[in-house]
């Protein structure tokens, strides 16, 4: 169970301060699939960073099974992420000097996972294993980023627009693969997206606007990646 209580986060210096998250409280159940929807600039990525322990909130708490990660030291926070968290970022953030294989290995090794080649193949990257990130298209980089996160076998997976650079067919297959792995490994998924159709796949949908939660609902049935509109 992940529980966030009254999270606030601002950026900027004193004179030019801008509150991005204005008191956010949410509960996310273990093994669930949660989608966060919201307009560009509404603070979705910032919320994801705070929830995943990349950034500390200015105030508020984030409990993972009762432990408040907002109070952890930097080192403990790093150890916490190592053990629990996987990310797929909007901007991919691959290691530029390492080929696809090694980028995925970076994640895999943290989980002692030696079978990461399966994940690379499943995401359609088997031909690209020896390529460097800059030799890949945007969508291919996005899939490497997904492979790396999945190879880490996280207990909570954070995804920031994981299909933003993908065409419909590839996008559906990536989402489908993530869902299948989730069924198998039972990790929690928290996904940010612009695409309201993807929300039909989620159990819980949270709507954000200008740093606040403006709505939340549960889907009675969850569609698969091939059933949703695009």
């Amino acid at each position: 169970m992940i529980r966030a209580e009254n999270i606030r986060k601002s950026y900027g210096t004193r004179d030019n301060r801008c509150e991005i998250l204005k008191g956010i409280s949410i509960d996310i159940e273990d093994g669930g699939f949660t989608v966060i929807l919201g307009a560009s600039g509404s603070g979705k990525s910032t919320l994801l960073n705070v929830l995943s322990g990349l950034e500390r909130p200015d105030s508020g708490s984030i409990f993972y099974d009762g432990e408040n990660i907002a109070e952890l030291s930097d080192d403990s926070l790093t150890a916490f992420r190592r053990k629990n968290i996987g990310f797929i970022f909007q901007q991919y953030y691959l290691l530029p000097n390492l080929n696809v294989d090694r980028n995925v290995k970076m994640g895999a090794e943290l989980a002692g996972n030696k079978d990461y080649a399966d994940i690379i193949n499943a995401l359609g990257l088997s031909e690209k294993r020896r390529k460097l990130p800059r030799e890949l298209s945007g969508g291919e980089q996005q899939r490497v980023s997904a492979a790396r996160a999945l190879a880490k076998k996280p207990s909570v997976l954070f995804l920031d627009e994981p299909t933003g650079a993908l065409d419909e067919e590839t996008g559906r297959s990536v989402l489908d693969y993530i869902c299948r792995l989730r069924d198998e490994l039972k990790f929690t998924v928290i996904m940010v997206t612009h695409n309201a159709n993807i929300a039909d796949m989620a159990k819980t949908v949270i709507k954000m606007n200008s740093g606040k939660i403006v709505g939340q609902y549960r889907n009675q049935t969850q569609k698969t990646a091939y059933e949703i509109g695009w």
């Binding site: 990349l54 950034e55 080192d75 790093t78 150890a79 916490f80 992420r81 190592r82 053990k83 968290i85 990310f87 901007q91 953030y93 691959l94 290691l95 530029p96 000097n97 390492l98 080929n99 294989d101 090694r102 290995k105 970076m106 994640g107 090794e109 943290l110 030696k114 020896r130 460097l132 800059r134 030799e135 790396r148 880490k152």
Partner: protein, 379 residues
Amino acid sequence: MIIGAKDVCKLLGIVIISACAVFVSTLFLNYNLDLNGIEAQIADESRALYDALVMTGSVVSAVSGGCLLMTSVVMLCFYIKHYIDSHRKELGILKAMGYSNIRIAAGFWVFGLSVFAGTLAGFSGAYLIMPAFYSVQNESGLLPDFSAEFHPRLLILLVIAPTAAFALLSVIYSFFRMKTPVLDLLKGKPDSKSRDVAAKDNMPFLKELKKITLRGRRSLVFFIAFASFCYSAMVQMSFGMGDLASEMMSAMTFMIGVVLAFTTLFIAVTTVVRSNAGSVSIMKIFGYSGRECSSAILSGYRPAAAAGFVIGTLYQYLLLKIAVEVIFKDIENVPVFEFNVQALIIAAVSFAVVYEAVMLCYSRRIGKISVKEIMMEAE
């Protein structure tokens, strides 16, 4: 143009090194010129001393001036390459908009200013210390008294000419670098070196990362070896100099060795850390600890440092041996020259301590790189 004063300031290494080079060369060349002026007054019994002094002057300014000059050239090219690498997006956009290579490259002349600042400082410094230097050189009192004159041709040779040459070098070198196609600049050039080093499945990721980091930055391996070479050679030489020449020469060699070694070491390590900051921050996001990141990135340079040290030891030994046997062979009671084990130990221990301290400092800095670094970088 896009090269600001801040970028030129980063060339501090070149300023310091060119200052050292010109400082030494000015002292000795000026002395030689003045010595030449009084050649007629030299008594026969002081002839050998006179010849030895002239010879020492030429050798010292050629060796140290030359070495330091080479270093500055390598360093300047390194800086420009680094500058272009880290500004490749802006430069690529300029090119895409239709600026010609030569037009962009022309802006790089300002890098030559660093050499101007350095050589001018070294030149002025030499004139400040010259009276003291002259009296030390003639401690024995065998030569007639003479005082330092100002030689304008030295100003041209040691300040104006290097400045012009380095400004030109900057433009030419950056011109060749700018020939990279626009798209390679914008996306980053595929670097064949770092591609496809046979992936060994059983090798741990951090080890692989260490290997690839080293391989992709050969120039930095060279710089670190060079730093330890300078330190080893100059510091050990300064012990020998104390007996063979004068305390002053010994102190000067020592200072130059230390300055050169630490400037180079500092620049190399700063570059290593800065160019890996993005990768470190990604690794931290995934939960690698600061210690794991810094050992993968910094610990690979020890063998290079050790190799540089050994070469430096041999180099100084041979150089002094030759100096004693060739230059001073006609002069009486030159002390016997032997390999100085004590100097070796002192130099080795002090270098190891400083090297490890610098690395420790920088691994702290890597430890402090925030996970947000990469996000700031992308914006």
